[in-house]
């Protein structure tokens, strides 16, 4: 098919999969990472860091349970502090995974096929980390089930007018749907691993997990329906979860929180930080495991463009926020804004402006988008910036509240930091386990990207 070849080799249509792959080599390359006996040193390094931080997290949580939330820097009126900052940050990171797996699937964006698996795993682990914080923040985490409206003898129900209750439903739905979507997508690949491994125990475990997948036409037809349905269910979640998170702030009439564009602005910020995390994971992974042929420069370029677009929306929001603080004419709003820029948190504020608005503009340049090292640095800058953003929104609005006599400066304690870095450890720990035990790229979906797959389809159709 010389004509087909020409279309593929056109200079401007950069490949989403390197030329020369066959069905066999795709499967080999991805499955070997899992089935090999030799584990690269990089893996032990990453896993070790994750494990060490995870132990730190366990220590911090043990002390927290023994002594209470007073070990954190929480002081009236700043009662949300690091816990809610970290919660919003983590849950935001998860959004890119859902966007890639669900929305890009519905939009027929084939390039997503090689990054959706680990992006979805990232979502799951980020949601797990996020879920820790509201529960730890309760003070009496063993009573967390009180958040749910369950029938009880005292007839007590949570207040359904509170967005915090909506959050419980939004986040738990999100976690459930993400897990199902991820697991359904894994099944064909689990069967591949089951069939290829030489280890009996591994064959048994992968076999159980693959739920008897044989790859029959019937299986595929059911699979396609299920994954489209799950994508349809997951799509509104990309918007709804962070919208509900933004309601946590806007429904409260605290100056600096009560702004009508928070819902789309939070969603854009979530996708912004999520894509930064996707890049921060993809760039080292593909070079360590030699996956540049599957996660190509095109993927990095596209992700960087999404980052730029969402970053510009975030920038738009800052400009409008400043304008409306003045234009709205509310003195409390104005003083909060002035305090953010010149008060005790000014360094945080201006760093976040730099990290989120100024720095990402380098992504306008193709040279930067084509240089993985620079992309990696910019995604790190964005991740820091988005954390600072949540911190500034939460803490600066609470610390300088309506009563000047209660004003104070929030001081994070070492337990705050240890808990935060501890969840990063939990994330790394889970993520490194995932890349060692499961295929980090979807084998069968990447195979559909091959030119061979396309021609067969055309002959049939």
């Amino acid at each position: 098919m010389p004509e087909e070849q020409q279309v593929i080799d056109k200079p401007e249509s950069r490949e989403i999969i390197a030329p020369g792959y066959t069905f066999g080599t795709v499967t080999d390359q991805i499955a070997t990472v899992v089935l090999t006996k030799k584990t690269p040193l990089f893996w032990f390094g990453g896993f070790g860091v994750g494990l060490a931080l995870l132990f730190g997290f366990l220590l911090a949580v043990a002390v927290l349970f023994a002594r209470g939330v007073g070990i954190w820097g929480l002081r009236t009126p700043v009662m949300w502090g690091f816990a809610i900052t970290n919660f919003v940050w983590w849950i935001g990171i998860g959004h890119a995974g859902t966007l890639i797996s669900a929305i890009l699937l519905l939009l027929n964006q084939a390039w997503r096929n090689s990054i959706n698996r680990f992006a979805e795993a990232m979502t799951l682990f980020a949601v797990a980390c996020a879920g820790m914080f509201p529960v730890l923040h309760l003070g009496r985490p063993w009573l967390a089930y009180w958040l749910f409206p369950y029938p009880n003898t005292m007839g007590v129900q949570p207040n359904f007018r509170s967005p915090l209750v909506w959050d419980v439903f939004a986040v738990s739905t999100y976690a459930t749907v993400s897990l199902m979507f991820w697991y359904v997508g894994l099944m064909p690949d689990l069967a591949t691993l089951r069939d290829r491994t030489n280890n009996r125990a591994a064959r048994f475990i992968y076999g159980i997990m693959a739920m008897g997948w044989r790859g029959s036409a019937r299986h595929w037809s059911v699979y396609e329906t299920a994954s489209l349905l799950l994508a349809g269910i997951a799509t509104p979640l990309v918007l709804s979860v962070h919208t509900v998170v933004s309601f946590d702030f806007t429904i409260a009439i605290v100056p600096g929180w009560h702004s009508t564009f928070f819902p789309p602005y939070f969603v854009a910020g979530a996708i912004y930080s999520g894509f930064a995390m996707v890049l921060a994971l993809a760039i080292p992974l593909r070079s360590v495991y030699g996956l540049q042929g599957l996660i190509t420069d095109r993927h990095l370029d596209n992700s960087a463009k999404v980052m730029l677009a969402t970053g510009l929306i975030v920038g738009y929001a800052y400009i409008l926020e400043a304008f409306s603080a003045w234009y709205g004419g509310n003195v409390y709003e104005q003083s909060i804004f002035w305090n953010r820029m010149t008060g005790p948190y000014r360094y945080f504020y201006w760093s976040l402006v730099f990290c989120n608005i100024v720095a990402p503009n380098v992504l306008w340049f193709k040279r930067v988008r084509g240089t993985p090292a620079l992309l990696f640095i910019s995604s790190m800058v964005v991740l820091v910036g988005m954390w600072l953003e949540r911190f500034v929104i939460i803490v600066s609005s609470l610390a300088q509240d309506f009563l000047p006599s209660s004003w104070s400066v929030f001081q994070a304690t070492r337990w705050d930091w240890l808990t935060y870095f501890g969840t990063i450890g939990l994330f790394l720990f889970l993520f490194f386990l995932f890349i060692r035990l499961l295929p980090m790229i979807s084998i069968f979906e990447v195979r559909t990207l091959l030119p061979q797959a396309k021609i067969e389809e055309e002959v049939q159709g």
Binding site: S259, T260, F261, P263, G329
Partner: protein
Amino acid sequence: MTAQALDFNLSTELKNDLKQWRTRALGVGIAGAVLCLIGLITNPFQFYRSYLWSYLLVLGLSLGPLAWLMLQYVTGGAWGVVIRRPCEAAARTIWLVALMFLPIVIGIRNLYPWSRAKDVAASAMLQHKQPYLNVQFFLIRAVVYFAGWWFLSWFFNRWSAVEDRDGGEVAHRKMAFLAGPGILFWGFTVTFMSIDWVLSLAPEWFSTIFGMLFIASQMLTSMAFLITLMVLLSFRRPMSEVLTPRHLHDLGKFLLALVMVWAYFSFSQFLIIWAGNLPEEIPWYLTRLNGGWQYVALALVFGHFALPFALLLSRDLKRNFKLLAGIAIFILCIRCVDLYWIVAPDFRKASFGLSWMDFTAPMGLIGIWLWYFLTQLEKRPLMPSQDPLLEEALAHGRE
């Protein structure tokens, strides 16, 4: 069929059709304009009020396509190729739309409380906003908006003409290069335009999502218009040979997405303001949810969201030319209701009401605009024959 085998020039039958449509549009436009003139003499206050919301609709018909044009260059989507020429023609009407802004400039004191010295003297809030809300700066901003929009429209039309003449690659790259910054400029100007021309009607009130809501509304209005137009064009050559249900399906998806975005933004704004219940915010909704206006609001919930949403979910419907055009026309009508609900209650705080000029003003404006748009549409072939994405777009339709 490849692109070479197709002739994208307008067929004689289509030219005859366009001529007929043009004459009718001009007739309706002139009739509307004459009636508006009578209204201007008998009741100038009402004239400006009716004119403002009708003008916002026409503005969306011209500005929205400009955004679609830039968006397709940025995303490199083949979906944009079939609507490229109508978008370019609509963008070329921007100078006429700028001309149509003049009555608002003349009637500024009838419309905006902040432009009346007496009102400003009476309100501390308006004095606070004086540095932004004053007549000179308002006019300067309007000039900047129109100059920018005109430049973008000129740029994308010029290079598209070059592309037709000299082949695709260079011109296409030039347009893709400016499209990113262009969208940025478009987003900011439309936001501040909506603050200047609409939000400042109630100068005490502010909502940060208002600009985004306006952006979404303009995209929705223009997509509904483009779909209607594409279906009308599809009966005659060349579009009868190009346009397939698959193309229409893509445009229908945009329509559905924008209906949802509009609902999402509107509901977010309402929920946050309702729950906050602050004295500086809630009056805007209190006006619009009392005195008969609540029924208009309810009509919007059903007509602007629930009904089109439920219908557009259907895949078959999005591929059915006539049905989709029907929904698009319905959306254009409900857009009028939405604009009226946003603009008019500030002038009719006590209760809902309609003036006869609320029918003649859109008649005049849309009629004249449509006439000019159709003149422009005729000037170029209906498809960009040298576009690098043309083959992909045609092949996509056959899938």
